[in-house]
């Protein structure tokens, strides 16, 4: 809200600089966001919290300055000393007290007016309200002064002599002052005459009964509307106004009559009025005032300091509370404009505020002992983060809200998506069902700016629909790899491959301590056929990895081969082996034997290794692949695979003969079962 320094001076004496007042306001809870100097005034732009609608006026702000400083404070005159009579009279009805508990109006007959006085115009404009005509300007002036919105109708444009503040009938329409035709609903409040709605109650007046320079007779409205109704209507119609803003935060019920009379006072001061009617009203202003009992001891218990009783009483008095009571307790009655004061804690906050938050000392708490706990999923997160960075990956953070289209195109998660009804950006309406989108987009972006080696990982949730239950949020680890695999100038230049991501996955899982992992082909469309692997433990999928398919790369506009892996940290957590005792260091030497085989292309390395293990049992302590070759001297349709087998026994040094015998029997077996041949050159020797 914009507050004028000159205006405040009407109610409280202010001598210090604008800056010191700005500090005072800020430290009292009226956060001054900006200070604006004009030729002869200073405007404070104040952020007003929703609990203090009483600050939404100059009187309210001045009253707070009085409470903080204890300086004098006076409210402007509002008593109109004129005989109240009129030719016409209105009957007011307020059929639903839950919607409009109080509606009042005064008829001003034979109004002749001229220009709005200069000071008023200036003040309105300083506060961001355009001057329109004297009557409207006075209603706005009082709004900014008292915080009570008023409305003036051209009384000659109203039909009949009945005014009703009622529910709108569904389908009812009104053209408002802004010229727009609004369709109303049952829960809106309308002000209606004999013909129909003449205003959207508390939100905006109607065009037809608007006050213009031709207006002679004015019906001046001042009412109290149910805050939640005004809020709902203003939101639904997208029609926030200075009025609705105040009504929905709740106006001072005791101020409804005062503000109306203040407006009449000003109208009689700046215009000529022939007759002023008595007050036509329906309902009663809902003035409620809570009586709060506060034990002095509670103040210290919450704030940590003792505040003298005399000070406490004086703070509350200055805030407009009626304080009584002696001894350990105090009884305080809140003023009508402080609906937020209901409980002892509300008073304690006020006492702390006026005492000054900054004067409250700093202490360190005496801490009660608490059993130390380590959150297992957060600990695992930390471990995988360390591992991924040690593998050369940078951590990414991407949005949990993703585009739906790629998942539609890939046919992924068609039935368990969590979608938003009110996305900020229509495209980003899906809660990500995996981590692919963010990482793939990051790869595209990085390759596009010339990065040659992109390695990124992300730890975060995915979200899967669970019907009416809250969606499943699963903590995931995703990583993505694209570009060059070369580490330095010594190595040959190469592109990253499937085996890079495979190796990273293997190392990661082994470091974490996940065992008995079974690999199956992952046939989903995100991976290239045959190059996607799904990892399972005890038949449950814990993750997947592989080469992203051409389709995925096309969707995310990535030209280079790109490799992606994703794991459920939640599932992995349940599989970590904790009691891993170490195995003994071998006492006897190993004998290595190299074995190069010529195989049909289709024979998988894993099959060979499995066969070797089966044959050698414990004696093959390690089997390495050290070469894979196709083409050249290797016949078409064949490949050459080279293994190094480390033969080793736990209880003895293996003799050459024994190793040779085993080695040759393995070769023999591989030949028979998998058609493995030895290379020709070798056979000749």
């Amino acid at each position: 809200m914009r507050v004028s320094l000159n205006w405040l001076k009407d109610y409280v004496p202010l001598k210090g600089s604008a800056e010191s007042l700005s500090d005072l306001l800020t430290m009292a809870g009226l956060n001054v966001e900006r200070l604006e100097r004009t030729a002869d005034d200073t405007i404070f732009e104040i952020e007003i919290t929703t609990n203090r609608p009483d600050w939404l006026s100059h009187i309210g702000v001045a009253r707070e300055i009085h409470a903080v400083t204890g300086s004098r404070f006076s409210i402007p005159p509002f008593q109109v000393k004129v005989q109240r009579e009129s030719e016409k009279s209105f009957k007011i009805s307020t059929p639903d007290a839950n919607f409009c508990p109080y509606y009042s109006a005064v008829l001003l007959e034979g109004v002749e007016w001229g220009k709005t006085p200069e000071f008023m115009k200036k003040r309105l404009e300083a506060c961001g309200i355009r001057s329109i005509n004297l009557i409207v300007d006075i209603t706005n002036y009082v709004l900014l002064e008292w915080g009570q919105p008023l409305h003036a109708f051209d009384a000659d444009r109203l039909h009949g002599d009945k005014i009703s503040a009622r529910h709108a009938q569904s389908g009812e329409k009104i053209i408002a002052i802004d010229g727009i035709n609004y369709e109303l609903a049952k829960d809106d409040i309308v002000i209606a005459d004999a013909k129909g709605p003449v205003a959207i109650g508390g939100v905006m007046g109607g065009k037809e009964s608007e006050v213009s320079h031709k207006t002679k007779n004015v019906l001046l409205e001042s009412a109290f509307f149910a805050p939640s109704r005004i809020r709902a209507t203003a939101r639904r119609l997208g029609l926030g106004s200075e009025s609705s803003y105040r009504f929905e935060r709740k106006v001072d019920p005791a101020g409804v009559d005062q503000a109306r009379e203040r407006a009449i006072y000003l109208i009689t001061k700046y215009a000529r009025v022939k007759r002023i009617s008595s007050v036509f009203k329906g309902g009663k202003p809902p003035v409620k005032s809570a009586k709060i009992l506060l034990q002095y001891s509670e103040i210290k218990k919450i704030l940590g300091i003792e505040i003298p009783q005399a000070k406490v009483k004086s703070y509350l008095n200055r805030l407009g509370l009626r304080v009584s009571g002696k001894g350990k307790k105090i009884s305080a009655q809140a003023p009508s404009f402080r609906a937020d004061l209901l409980r002892p804690i509300d008073l304690i906050e006020e006492i702390a505020r006026l005492y000054g938050y900054n004067k409250i000392p700093e202490t360190l708490p005496l801490m009660s002992p608490i059993e130390p706990r380590i959150n297992p999923i957060l600990a695992l997160e930390q471990q995988v983060r360390s591992l991924c960075t040690s593998f050369g990956f940078y951590e990414a953070v991407s949005f949990s809200l993703v585009e739906t289209a790629p998942f539609d195109q890939l046919g992924l998660y068609p039935n368990d998506r969590t979608r938003l009804v009110n996305p900020r950006n229509k495209e980003l309406s899906l809660m990500r069902p995996n981590l692919l989108s963010g990482l793939a987009q990051a790869v595209r972006r990085n390759l596009a700016v010339g990065e040659t080696d992109v390695r990124l990982f992300e730890v975060g949730n995915r979200y899967l629909d669970s019907g009416n239950q809250l969606p499943k949020e699963e903590r995931m680890l995703g990583f993505i790899l694209s570009g060059e695999g070369r580490l330095n100038w010594i190595e040959k230049k190469r592109h990253v491959s499937f085996y890079d991501i495979k190796g990273i996955v293997e190392e990661l899982l082994s470091q974490i301590g996940v065992q008995s992992i079974e690999a199956k082909e992952d046939t989903r469309s995100i991976f290239r056929a045959g190059e996607g692997i799904s990892l399972l433990v005890k038949n449950e999928q814990i993750g997947c990895y592989g080469s992203l398919s051409d389709k995925v790369r096309k969707i995310y506009d990535i030209e280079k081969s790109t490799f992606y892996a994703e794991f459920s940290l939640e599932k992995i957590l349940t599989l970590i082996k904790k009691d891993s005792s170490i195995s003994e260091i071998p006492k006897f030497p190993f004998s290595p034997r190299d074995l190069t085989l010529i195989l049909n292309e289709a024979v998988k390395a894993e099959a060979i290794i499995a066969r070797i293990r089966e044959m050698a049992g414990e004696l093959a302590s390690k089997i390495e692949v050290f070469d894979h070759f196709m083409g050249g001297q290797v016949p078409k349709g064949k490949k050459s695979l080279s293994f190094r087998i480390f033969y080793q026994a736990k209880d003895r040094t293996l003799q050459n003969e024994e190793v040779n015998q085993l080695h040759f029997s393995i070769i023999d077996s591989l030949h028979k079962s998998l058609g493995a041949e030895l290379p020709k050159a070798k056979l000749e020797t």
Partner: protein, 323 residues
């Protein structure tokens, strides 16, 4: 036949006089080179009588090993400085560095903040992101149909759930599940349908803190927050407590730090409102405490001088490599 013993002595005495690696190299060539003395002796092997040949051959091998060993020994005695320098070797080529990645600045900031609170006896907990209205609003004393909800504009799912607009939801879940005393820190993602610009994003990170026992006071809150800010920003950091309003705390406060010439809002805090304790089934007459919440991106932006919040989510390696 040559006297090999004499030759040994000759090598020994010559080597004794060698002072630099160049002289040593000359001796090496003289004895072990292709046309050196030892090589010549091997050539003579053919002219040695057949019966003598094996013995002489062995003796020659021993001599060769002896000379090689002597030269090596001498070479080592010079140390690295004067050993033979391979003029082709280029020590200025780049080293083969291990490739190590890095953590996102948001993670680093969360860790830095959490570490401070861990040492103050707080525990890190984790909470849901998609929530019900109860956890995001009702239990936090934010009534339905109240303007205070405006500050927490919210994304809703088609199932009627919502994306939490603040990490305070974790307070409720934790208090529901355990008894006081408790001291927790809950970092995580939060969502608000804000227009995206240099300082706003519809998704960002917060850290929520909560301390509940039977005595934690507002002045304790001041002490803890100031201590935290000093650890995070340095011991000279200035702080001020401004009265504010949050539905779930009372008294509520906005904490500013002095930054350059201005005050900057850095976190919100307050004493937990009794209504919140009631919502989770605690007796507000018996427990009390404080809560605070801070924006991770905001702090990271201050600490690293980042001007645009969008950089955090673009995952540009040129940005990520700087942390």
């Amino acid at each position: 036949m040559t006297d090999l013993t004499a030759l040994r002595e000759e090598v020994k005495s010559k080597l004794a006089e060698v002072r630099d690696s160049q002289a040593l190299e000359e001796i090496r060539v003289f004895y072990l080179g292709r046309k050196g003395k030892v090589a010549n002796l091997f050539r003579e092997l053919g002219s040695v009588p057949e019966a003598e040949r094996p013995r002489f051959g062995q003796a020659l091998n021993k001599l060769k090993e002896f000379v090689e060993a002597q030269i090596r020994q001498k070479e080592e005695s010079f140390g690295t400085k004067t050993t033979r320098i391979d003029s082709v070797f280029d020590s200025t080529l780049p080293g083969v560095r291990p490739r190590i990645g890095g953590l996102h600045p948001i993670t680093q900031t969360i860790r830095e903040i959490s570490d401070i609170f861990l040492r103050l006896g707080f525990e890190i907990v984790d909470g849901r992101e998609i929530e019900t209205e109860f956890y995001n609003f009702t239990a936090l004393n934010i009534p339905l149909d109240h303007p205070s909800r405006d500050a927490f504009d919210t994304f809703y799912t088609t199932r009627g759930h919502l994306l939490r607009s603040q990490t305070s939801t974790v307070q409720i879940r934790e208090m529901e599940n355990r008894k006081p005393p408790l001291r927790i820190i809950a970092p995580g993602r939060v969502y608000r349908p804000d227009e995206v610009d240099a300082s706003h994003s519809f998704m960002f990170h917060q850290i929520e803190g909560l301390m509940v026992d039977d005595r934690a006071t507002f002045s304790d809150l001041k002490g803890v927050i100031h201590l935290f800010l000093r650890k995070l920003f340095g011991k000279n950091i200035q702080m001020r407590f401004k009265p504010h309003f949050f539905p779930f705390t009372e008294p509520s406060v906005d904490v500013d730090i002095s930054w350059g010439k201005a005050w900057l809002e850095i976190l919100g805090a307050g004493q937990v409102d009794p209504a919140v304790f009631e919502a989770v089934g605690y007796n507000p007459k018996k427990v009390q405490g404080f809560a605070f919440g801070l924006g991770v991106e905001r702090i990271a932006m201050l600490k690293y001088g980042i001007k645009d919040i969008r950089l955090f989510y673009e995952n540009d390696l040129r940005f990520l490599r700087q942390f």
